[in-house]
Structure formats: structure tokens, C-alpha cells
Symmetry: C2
Subunit: 227 residues, 2 copies
């Protein structure tokens, strides 16, 4: 057993995790899911970031969420809201999404004799998603290890960090150049919309860290170049 | 919250579980997965059995296992063997299969406000599949409940039964008429091949229970009718 597999979404958090993993494991590979997300920009971002990180990326199709339905993240006709889901959860909650991602990632890792999985879930500002909690991750680690008889470890380097601390970690692990190509915006546009909850959470983190967001720097640069 | 969802494969065990569930929950619905199993007979059996049980059946496509590969159950070019898999496991082991089934079933159940899941896994003669163990099921119950913030219960009525005891339970819960249409044979044929490990395990259970297998009775009957 050697190396690690990092779950990758093309976002800020998984980009940080990917570079964090590169400092600790050899080899690192990345795994992304094509699960019918509204915006293809997400997977394109994952591809660019993995190329910059020099890490092989596998994209696995995971169509099941389309069939389960009922989330604004997959349904372009639904407006994204911080509530409106079951039990007051955001209507972007995809029930069991991280559980499914981890189960598939573990099966994939098992085939390659890799026990270490890295995922960018975060409890601090977890936005009401119960599948991001430390407790959930611990329970999943146990279920996967028992279910495949294989000693999985789920690493969540961002679990207790604020967004500002995640920005600092990204700097530490050398993720900033790649971060310029990460994708966060729920509206699925570049330059980012700056108004959706995801853009605002991201902006707050960089503001608190007192560091410009490489993605916004790149957006401004490209706008100037086109002017 | 009311009712239960029973995972259904068209086999002997899930058929028994379905009728067990019908005695305890209202309403019961059944969930099967089209995951690229070698034999369509399995899903046809599930449909027939659910019709006989008067239970609605949903079949969800779950193509991910095709992409993960590496198991004789999905690859017609591989011979089915009791070993030959990783760590001495049967080469029919699909890593994480039950974990994936349960995670999808839980997401599906969550959407319908159903907390009770029934699955026919069995530790007694679990054939070396670690995802059938009681411990695995308990860990999954916890991971799913935490991950969706919903009080799932995973019921495994066959967990500690021998195959002979499962036959007795099937009689008790009135599953025998439907059992005649269940499908077990790895060769995917009707009448069953009687030689594969699955057919032999099934035959041993009925022999030990001292009861004829309704499936074999039906096979003989149909052969006589055609003679």
C-alpha cells in the first residue's frame, strides 16, 4: 500500500487538499466525479488543476444523483438558496453525496491497493451539510474499512479550519498558482458572479486572510488583456 | 416517517426479506439496482417477485461498477471461483457493493421520508464477503444516519441464520410461492445449472431444511409440461 487518492471537485478546498497530499504521499492521484453537476466548468477546473499539480486525474461517471433528483445543484430550474431543502438544509444538499463519493473512491482505491483518501470537507463553516462532519467521516472510515476488509484512512485536512485558515494553508502547501484556475461559483461562470453564497464565502475567506484571491486576480488580468 | 424499503435482487434471500418486511412495515416498497449484472434474469426475477408480493419496485441504474471493473460477476470472460479475488476473497467480490447499494437506498429513502431499510445480508455463510457482516452493517447505519442527519435503521433479518433457517423463515413469512420465481444461479439459466457455488449453497439449505425448493419444483413442472 502506498500513495493517496484525493477527491477533487475543481474547487478551492479540494485544490488545497491536493497540494497538501502532495507534501505527504507518493504517488498522489486525483479522482473526480461527473455526476451531472450543472456546470462543466467544475470538471474543466479539476483537469487544469491536476495538470498544474502534475497529478493524474480519473473522472468517473456517477449518474445516480440524476435519478434520485431533488436538489438545486443538479436542476437548472431551481434557484440556489441557503434554505429550502429538507429540515432547513440548503437546497443544494444532495443527500448522501459525500458518502457516495467516498464509497466509490474507496472501491477505486481498493483496486489499486491505496488506503489513504483525502477529501476537503470542513465542519467549521460546513453550511449545514451533515455529510461534511468529522463524525460522519469517522463513521464512513469504519464502514468502508469493515466493508472491504481494508484499512482505509480518510484525511480531512480542512476539517476544523476557517476559510481564512484554509487560504493560509493553501499558501503553505503551494496551491496558489493552481488556485487561480479553481472553480467555486454556483452560477458556473468565469469571471465568478461574486454574488452567490459560494462566491461570497470564498471572498470572505480571502478577505479575512488579507490575501487577494488568485482566481480574481486572474479574472482581472484577463479582462485587462481583452480591453 | 413510515414504511420500509427492501433491497431486492431477485434472489432467495431478498425474497425472504421482502415478505418479512411485509409482516412488519406498511407500506413496503422494493428497490433493485441495474448495475450491469451478467444476467438479466436477476432483474426479471425481482419484477416477478414484487408483482406477486404486491409491492412497488423501483430499479435504479448504477453503472459505476462497470467503470470500476475487476470482478467476475460483471465480466463474462472470467470464470466464477470461490477464490481468485484479492486477499483470498471469491472473485465474485465487488468491492463496496453493499455499501454503495445501501448509500443509494438511503438517499432514495430519505427523499421519501422512509428510515427503515431491509437487506438480506448474512454473516453465517457469508462466503467471505466483508460487506455482509453485522459490524459493517452497524457502521453503515451510523455513517448514513450521520451523513444525512436522519435516523436510518438497517434491518438484516437473515444475519445469523443458516441457509436452512432462512428456508424455514421463508415458509413462516409466506415467501414460498414467490420463491419459485427467484433467481440464484451464477450461470444465469433457468432451470438452474445446479453446479455453480450459488446453486449448491441454495440446494444445501433446502436439503438441510428437509423442504423441496419451490424453484426446482417449478423447473421440474415446466419440464414435464413441455415433455
Amino acid at each position: 500500500m502506498a500513495g493517496a487518492i484525493c477527491l477533487t471537485s475543481g474547487g478551492q478546498d479540494s485544490t488545497t487538499c491536493l497540494f497538501w497530499a502532495l507534501q505527504r504521499f507518493t504517488p498522489v492521484s486525483a479522482l473526480a466525479f461527473d455526476y451531472g453537476q450543472r456546470h462543466r466548468l467544475e470538471l474543466q477546473a479539476a483537469e487544469t488543476i491536476c495538470t498544474l499539480a502534475g497529478v493524474p486525474l480519473v473522472i468517473l461517471p456517477l449518474e445516480i444523483f440524476r435519478h434520485l433528483g431533488g436538489t438545486a445543484l443538479l436542476d437548472p430550474s431551481q434557484e440556489i438558496r441557503a434554505d429550502g431543502g429538507r429540515g432547513g438544509l440548503p437546497n443544494t444538499f444532495v443527500p448522501g453525496r459525500n458518502l457516495m463519493f467516498l464509497t466509490v473512491a474507496a472501491a477505486f482505491a481498493y483496486q489499486q491497493d491505496v488506503a489513504d483518501l483525502v477529501i476537503g470537507t470542513c465542519q467549521t463553516d460546513y453550511s449545514g451539510y451533515p455529510d461534511c462532519r468529522e463524525q460522519t467521516m469517522q463513521a464512513m472510515e469504519q464502514a468502508l474499512s469493515l466493508g472491504m476488509d481494508f484499512p482505509f484512512r480518510i484525511h480531512t485536512p480542512l476539517m476544523y479550519l476557517t476559510k481564512a485558515q484554509t487560504v493560509a494553508l493553501a499558501q503553505d502547501v503551494g496551491a496558489f498558482d493552481a488556485m487561480a484556475y479553481s472553480h467555486t461559483c454556483y452560477a458556473g461562470v468565469f469571471p465568478p458572479c461574486t454574488r452567490c453564497p459560494a462566491c461570497q464565502l470564498r471572498a470572505r475567506g480571502f478577505a479575512e486572510a488579507g490575501v487577494p484571491d488568485p482566481l480574481m486576480v486572474r479574472a482581472q488580468q484577463e479582462q485587462q488583456d481583452h480591453a
